[in-house]
């Protein structure tokens, strides 16, 4: 059975007896999982390809609802409510739980319009307020200096690392409570990766973060908690420093020592 530690912080999300099944499949891709996500901390999800870590991540903002007939069972509690209920307002949920993707997803519009996109969706029209918030978001994402003279330029002209920071700026501009990172550095070079990792750590004072990563060193560097998944099961959730030194489960130990993966 899985080893799930009790976290000392307050939890921002609580996964309870949760199960997820893709459309057309009989077997679930995430099996009966229970885990807390600590507030203002970074929780990393690691595991070999196909273990269900990205699938689980995409449940937190109900991304699977974009494609028909996927099924959630159990509960994911957020602010005292189960976000898996049919009546959940997905637009509102996704404003509060933002997401950063594997490949940068700059929209085909200017840098300014990219950052302002989420705020404009919420009906913000005041120009000075928009400008202030765009500047703040870009500063928080450590990209302001590079783009401040070309806010009107096409965002697709930026480098991969810059685009990924632009996407982070876009996500934090709407002041979410949780940010989901889906292998945010797998398409980036080592220097850009270091920049993003630094940024993720800085952000945790303001948001709670869940990050899926292929890279165990990355999980060790940035996260406070680490969950190890294998074949759709959460095998172990523990404090990162303990997990990588003294894993409780044999499978976890074999994975982090490179016996399989």
């Amino acid at each position: 059975m899985a080893t799930i530690i009790n976290i000392k912080e307050e939890s921002v999300l609580d996964v309870k007896d949760f199960q997820f099944t893709y459309a057309g499949n009989d077997a679930p891709s995430v099996n009966k999982t229970t885990m807390p996500i600590a507030k203002n901390s970074i929780t990393a999800l690691i595991g070999p390809s196909g273990c269900g870590k990205t699938t689980l991540l995409r449940c937190f903002n109900r991304m699977h609802d974009l494609y028909p007939d996927n099924r959630y069972d159990g509960e994911i509690l957020f602010k005292g409510r189960n976000i898996l209920q049919a009546k959940e307002d997905l637009i509102n949920l996704r404003i509060q739980i933002g997401m950063i993707f594997q490949k940068p997803t700059a929209f085909p519009m200017s840098i300014f319009d990219n950052i302002a996109y989420g705020m404009r969706l919420q009906g913000m029209k005041n120009k000075t307020e928009l400008q202030d918030r765009v500047e703040k978001a870009l500063k928080d994402a450590a990209i302001w200096k590079e783009v401040k003279d070309r806010l009107k330029a096409d965002a697709n002209g930026l480098s991969g690392g810059q685009q990924q920071r632009l996407c982070i700026a876009r996500a934090i501009a709407v002041e979410p409570e949780v940010l989901l990172f889906d292998e945010p550095t797998s398409a980036l070079d080592p220097i850009s990766t270091a920049g993003i990792e630094e940024l993720v750590v800085e952000l945790k004072d303001r948001v709670s973060i869940i990050i899926v990563t292929h890279n165990m060193q990355q999980a060790a560097r940035v996260s406070d908690y680490t969950g190890f998944m294998y074949l759709g099961d959460l095998i172990e959730l523990g404090k990162t420093e303990d997990m990588f030194v003294t894993p409780k489960e044999k499978l976890t130990e074999e994975y982090i020592t490179g016996k399989f993966g």
Partner: protein, 280 residues
């Protein structure tokens, strides 16, 4: 003879044959364009744009009626066909996804794209012209709309499909409702491709003659009432070019030249938009 020399000889033969074939193909194209330019430019005068059709032998005859008729017929077809085609393509790509209905529409539109245009002309003749009792500009526009629709529908569908799904997901992840994702993100990403589809669709129907013979028919004088038979460049060209009068034949050349230049421009513009998109 070694294997290598054999292969080199074979390679040279194939290369020569394919080059010659390409040159022959291009040769015909330039031959056509050359004759068209020589005769067309020779026939071009200002009166072509300022005067209507006239009986043979009249000095002041032109193509004003056909130019305006062409603009009205193709214009009306574009105004109806483009929004319909884009909306239908949007349904296929964004809403239908893998639904049976969407697949069926895709198949039918592929069949329609290769349907002989004269059949579509005959169809519109049967359902519009015959009940109305006379030819009309509207009937011509309807025929052209039907021909244009599958082209715009399929290019829109294809171009929207090229927009990466992660871009849509990123917009949804910021709390965007579906219609805003489509209008503000997906359309923007596919802009150049859709525009190319529109231009190629318009270019395709602008050169149609057969369906217009059955529908808008012809008028030797200026008419802007779409309820009446109406001149078009293509039908006028057909009538003038096959007439025995030299001045009418000249007008036919002028019509051919103007029409070809119009379609060539649309095609080049379409290619430029795509190039610009790839260049990014």
């Amino acid at each position: 003879m070694t294997h290598t020399t054999k292969r080199i000889i074979m390679n040279n033969i194939v290369m020569t044959l394919s080059t010659i074939s390409a040159v022959i193909g291009m040769g015909f194209l330039f031959w056509i364009l050359g004759i068209l330019v020589i005769n067309g430019v020779d026939a071009l005068t200002w009166t072509i744009f300022s005067q209507e059709g006239a009986p043979p032998g009249y000095e002041n005859s032109g193509l004003k009626h056909a130019l305006i008729g062409q603009l009205l017929i193709v214009g009306a077809a574009t105004v109806v066909g483009v929004p319909l085609g884009i909306l239908a393509g949007t349904y296929l790509s964004e809403y239908g996804q893998k639904a049976k209905l969407a697949e069926t529409i895709r198949d039918i539109s592929d069949i329609m794209m290769s349907a002989p245009s004269i059949v579509i002309g005959a169809f519109v003749y049967a359902v519009v012209v015959a009940p109305m009792g006379h030819f009309s500009g509207w009937a011509g526009s309807i025929a052209l709309t039907i021909i244009m629709l599958p082209i715009i529908l399929r290019t829109t569908d294809d171009m929207l499909n090229l927009v990466p799904s992660t871009l849509r997901e990123a917009a949804f992840a910021l709390g965007a409702p579906k219609y805003k994702v489509i209008i503000q993100v997906v359309y923007r990403g596919a802009k150049a491709g859709i525009l190319t589809g529109i231009l190629l669709g318009v270019a395709r129907v602008a050169g149609e003659t057969a369906p217009l013979l059955f529908t808008s028919f012809n008028d030797n004088f200026l008419n802007t009432d779409m309820n009446e038979p109406m001149a078009s460049l293509t039908v006028t060209m057909y009538n003038y070019a096959t007439s025995p009068y030299e001045d009418w034949q000249k007008l036919g050349w002028a019509a051919a030249f103007i029409l070809s230049m119009f379609i060539l421009t649309l095609n080049i513009l379409g290619k430029l938009f795509l190039l610009k998109k790839k260049g990014r």
